[in-house]
């Protein structure tokens, strides 16, 4: 009898471990794939934004990008589907400020203004990045963008 009880104990541990962890494993595995996908999507969005700025499409977007910050409303937002997951994204910008002049770094005449582009991609749900059991399902990345790098033709 004691033997049976002990056996049941191990049985219970094994079953609980399997039930509990298999869900966690599944979620972790999904999160791994989606995090990788989200990272690549964030990169793609950043690259496409720069490409648009280079061609200034739509017209005036380049001038607008470097003229001020876009936090609320953001510079761009939307969603796209990759595999079976819908990824939501938002791009915001901050002006880089020169501490010595207390003004924006760079000037239009020299085409050397500097902006910080922030990309946030999340996929838990449209309104939040946290999902029960999975934690934060989000990738956030930022990079400095210089005006010279998106100039199509620097010649006047």
């Amino acid at each position: 009898m004691p033997e049976i009880i002990l056996s049941f104990g191990f049985f219970a541990v094994a079953i609980l471990a399997l039930m509990g962890l298999s869900l966690s494993i599944s979620r972790t595995d999904s999160k791994a794939l989606e995090t990788a996908a989200g990272t690549l999507i964030a990169d793609q969005l950043m690259g496409r934004t720069l490409a648009s700025l280079r061609t200034d499409s739509p017209p005036g977007s380049r001038a607008g990008f470097f003229s001020g910050e876009f936090v609320d409303p953001p510079w761009d937002s939307g969603s796209l589907v990759s595999g079976k997951t819908t990824f939501y994204y938002e791009l915001t910008t901050n002006q880089v400020m020169d501490l010595t002049t207390a003004g924006p770094m760079g000037e239009q005449a020299l085409s050397n203004r500097l902006m910080k582009l922030n990309v946030r991609v999340w996929w838990a749900s449209e309104n939040q990045e946290v999902r029960q059991g999975s934690g934060r399902l989000q990738v956030v990345t930022s990079r400095l963008i210089s005006e010279a790098e998106v100039l199509d033709d620097p010649s006047p």
């Binding site: 033997e3 995090t35 901050n94 880089v96 990738v139 210089s146 006047p156």
Partner: protein, 749 residues
């Protein structure tokens, strides 16, 4: 598994053993646990790998952020190398500090975690050679990375990019340098870092000494070059006409190719843009290119006209203005060399004559064996040895009482064209004279009322050093005479006088005489030439003095020596090589003209003159020659000729390829080919950099393009390849104008 369990049950039923139930359960549970835990580790490993992918990406983005920060700083200050000491940016999510050449920045990424970028220009060598001119940064900003950035934006020649492989990540004398960064370029190498090991980063601790966990590092390298200078936006800018003459053989490869290192390929002319000869369908090729001319047209082959965008050049639009004060040049504080004419004899000896080239020609033709003064020219700055003059540092040509030019020629002279035979007697080639006449017609002059002795032309300005007031130049004798005299105020008068009044039988003199017609009549009429054989040369000399060229410009040309004098050397046998220290320039400057009858080679060389520059015999016969890095700046005209005598009265033109700047206040003339029965081969002309004929000759200062004389660009070559690259302009000036830097190279280490 089920079968095993069944067999176990069956066996146990028949042979009960104590503890078998527990043991079985234990074994299977352990198996389950192992599998599940293995799966957990696998999935977490996948997640970590994904996070590592994210870390790798973040490290790359951090590195690129550092690169864009550097790009922005360089645009404001082309001399920047991380030395705006202090915190330069401090705001939510971004802090950057510069410390004597080392730059550290942090960017907030996810939640409270940061990624970091680090750049170093500092060699961290105060304990050793201290060769970088920077004080070592504070301890916390000492960077343990071997990659060192180099700013060569104002360098005249390539500069090594060292690795910090010395003690404590320092650069020493013996540190390796795997490659050089070109002149006009900044090599920026940025290390980006991201990962859990940077958890101590915050806006007060930008650079922790030790990291305690995994950090992903990516190193990114880029070359940034000057991309935009005020009004510098074309491969060639001519205040007058731009004419490219290609051979008439219809060779499909004979074309003008125009490109740009930074943006839209473009040529600009305040006059006409013309391409003659070459590929009959498409002799001007410039993908996505533009041509600006006075009337908005391109005079070229049909396909060229259809494929290149043309527009009207705004007559008031500026050219890149590089004034005499702004251009880098040597001064009297540098090594001096006496002005005059240096002649290389066939035995390699160097002979000096204290006279300008036209005077030398006349002198030596009257006294062919005169040795002048044998010199050696041996100093730290320049060394002559075996027909080769090496210039290693700045050299200033110091005017003597008799000369202000620097001339280096072989004993037999330096021919510009096959017919450029020199000599004191004999007609000048008609086509050259006609060209000179056409140019002369554009000289500013007014016509005084003629009298029965001649015609008068008054010039508002003239070079008084050639013909001082009170010492009129009277050329010719007998029935034909040209009198050229100047006044203290700078005005000059040319009197065309012919006592036989033959020229009166030509153009009517009742109307204001046209100077071109006068000259054309006098020097092409065979009876007139027979009666006055010196007339053509007289006109040529007059026009040469007035800067209108023609015949033997500035005294270049073959020197007429008797057969007993050994004079077989040609300019191709001589060489002037510029060989400055890495990253620096070697500049040859003169107040007078500089005439070089030799090859000109090397990198980092510049030639500046307050009059004309003539390189005769330049170029290379090799098909794939390394382009030389050379800058030419003249307040007068610039002439290049690559004529190569081949013997038996046959000639070739060598190819001439250059990286650098050609900037003439007057005209630019490149003779890399010629339609002539004795010319067997044309060369190609290539320039990467910038070509400007500003049209400001004879002006006291550089005003608007076309304000003065000249401004034409004339190139005769088999093919012409122009690529605009403003980085060479910036490397030639004393002060580099702020402006955007563009990326030309990108590499992830």
């Amino acid at each position: 598994m089920c079968y095993i369990v069944f067999m176990l049950l069956k066996w146990n039923f028949r042979n009960p053993v104590r503890g078998v139930y527990f043991l079985s359960t234990l074994v299977i549970s352990v198996l389950i646990g192992m599998l599940v835990i293995a799966a957990v580790f696998l999935s977490r490993g996948s997640l970590q790998a994904s996070e590592h992918l994210t870390d790798g990406n973040e490290a790359l983005k951090a590195a690129e952020s550092g690169l864009r920060y550097a790009q922005s700083k360089l645009s404001a200050n082309p001399s920047w190398r991380g030395d705006d000491n202090g915190i330069t940016v401090q705001q939510q999510g971004l802090v950057v500090e510069e410390d004597n050449g080392n730059v550290v920045g942090i960017i907030k990424i996810n939640g409270d975690s940061y990624s970091q970028f680090r750049i170093r220009f500092n060699w961290q060598d105060d304990a050793g050679d201290d060769a970088d001119g920077l004080v070592d940064p504070a301890g916390r900003n000492h960077l343990d990375i071997p990659y060192v950035s180099v700013n060569n934006a104002r360098g005249g020649s390539p500069l090594p990019v060292p690795r910090a492989d010395g003690p404590d990540f320092s650069v020493t004398e013996v540190s390796s340098s795997p490659y050089d960064v070109p002149a006009g370029t900044v090599c920026v190498i940025v290390e980006g870092r991201s990962g859990p090991g940077l958890s101590q980063l915050d806006d007060k601790n930008l650079n922790p000494g030790e990291v305690n966990a995994a950090v992903t590092t990516r190193v990114m390298e880029a070359y940034l070059r000057v991309a935009k200078l005020p009004a510098a936006n074309a491969a060639a800018m001519a205040a007058g006409d731009l004419l490219a003459e290609l051979p008439d053989d219809g060779d499909k490869k004979s074309q003008v190719l125009v490109g740009s290192a930074t943006g839209v390929p473009r040529v600009r002319s305040k006059g006409e843009v013309t391409v003659e000869g070459g590929n009959a369908d498409d002799n001007y090729v410039s993908p996505d290119g533009e041509v600006y001319s006075r009337d908005g047209t391109l005079n070229a082959a049909p396909t060229s006209r259809d494929t290149v965008r043309t527009d009207t050049e705004d007559p008031n639009a500026a050219f890149y203005k590089l004034s005499w004060e702004d251009v880098r040049k040597s001064t009297s504080a540098d090594t001096n060399v006496d002005a005059g004419t240096y002649v290389v004899w066939d035995d390699g000896s160097l002979h000096y004559y204290d006279m300008n080239l036209p005077e030398y020609k006349a002198f030596i033709e009257s006294d062919p064996t005169n040795p002048g003064t044998t010199v050696t020219l041996d100093s730290d700055a320049m060394k002559y040895d075996k027909k080769k003059l090496t210039i290693k540092q700045n050299v200033f040509v110091s005017s003597t009482g008799n000369s202000d030019e620097f001339n280096l020629i072989p004993r037999g002279g330096a021919q510009v064209t096959p017919d450029d035979e020199g000599g004191a007697v004999g007609p000048i080639p008609i086509d050259e004279l006609e060209q000179a006449v056409k140019r002369a017609s554009s000289l500013p002059y007014t016509v005084s009322s003629p009298d029965n002795m001649g015609a008068y032309l008054d010039f508002p300005t003239a070079d008084l050093s050639i013909v001082p007031p009170g010492s009129p130049l009277i050329i010719g004798s007998g029935t034909f005479e040209l009198q050229f005299y100047t006044k203290p105020g700078g005005e000059a008068t040319l009197k065309v006088y012919d006592s036989n009044r033959l020229f009166r039988t030509g153009p009517a003199l009742n109307a204001p005489p046209d100077f071109a017609k006068i000259v054309a009549t006098t020097v092409t009429d065979p009876d007139f030439i027979a009666a006055n054989p010196s007339a053509p040369l007289v006109m040529s000399q007059i026009l040469g003095s007035l800067g209108a060229g023609g015949g033997s410009p500035g005294g270049t040309g073959k020197i007429d020596l008797p057969p007993t004098v050994d004079a077989d050397l040609t300019p191709d046998n001589l060489e002037i090589k510029f060989e400055p220290p890495k990253g620096e320039s070697a500049i040859l400057s003169a107040d007078g003209s500089i005439n070089l009858g030799s090859k000109v080679t090397g990198v980092g060389g510049s030639i500046t003159s307050q009059r004309d520059i003539r390189l005769v015999g330049a170029g290379s016969s090799l098909e794939a020659n390394v382009e030389d890095g050379l800058n030419l700046y003249a307040k007068g005209d610039i002439l290049l000729s690559s004529l190569l005598p081949k013997g038996a009265d046959k000639y070739e033109y060598k190819s001439f390829n250059m990286k650098g700047v050609i900037y003439a206040w007057g005209d630019f003339d490149a003779r890399i080919g010629m339609e002539h029965e004795d010319v067997t081969k044309w060369g190609s002309f290539g320039l990467q950099g910038s070509l400007v004929a500003y049209g400001a000759k004879n002006q006291p200062e550089l005003g608007d393009p076309g304000d003065g004389d000249g401004g034409d660009i004339r190139i005769k070559a088999k093919s012409v390849n122009l690529t605009f690259d403003p980085a060479y302009l910036s490397a030639f000036t004393n002060e580099v104008e702020p402006g955007p830097f563009m990326q030309t190279l990108f590499n992830v280490h």
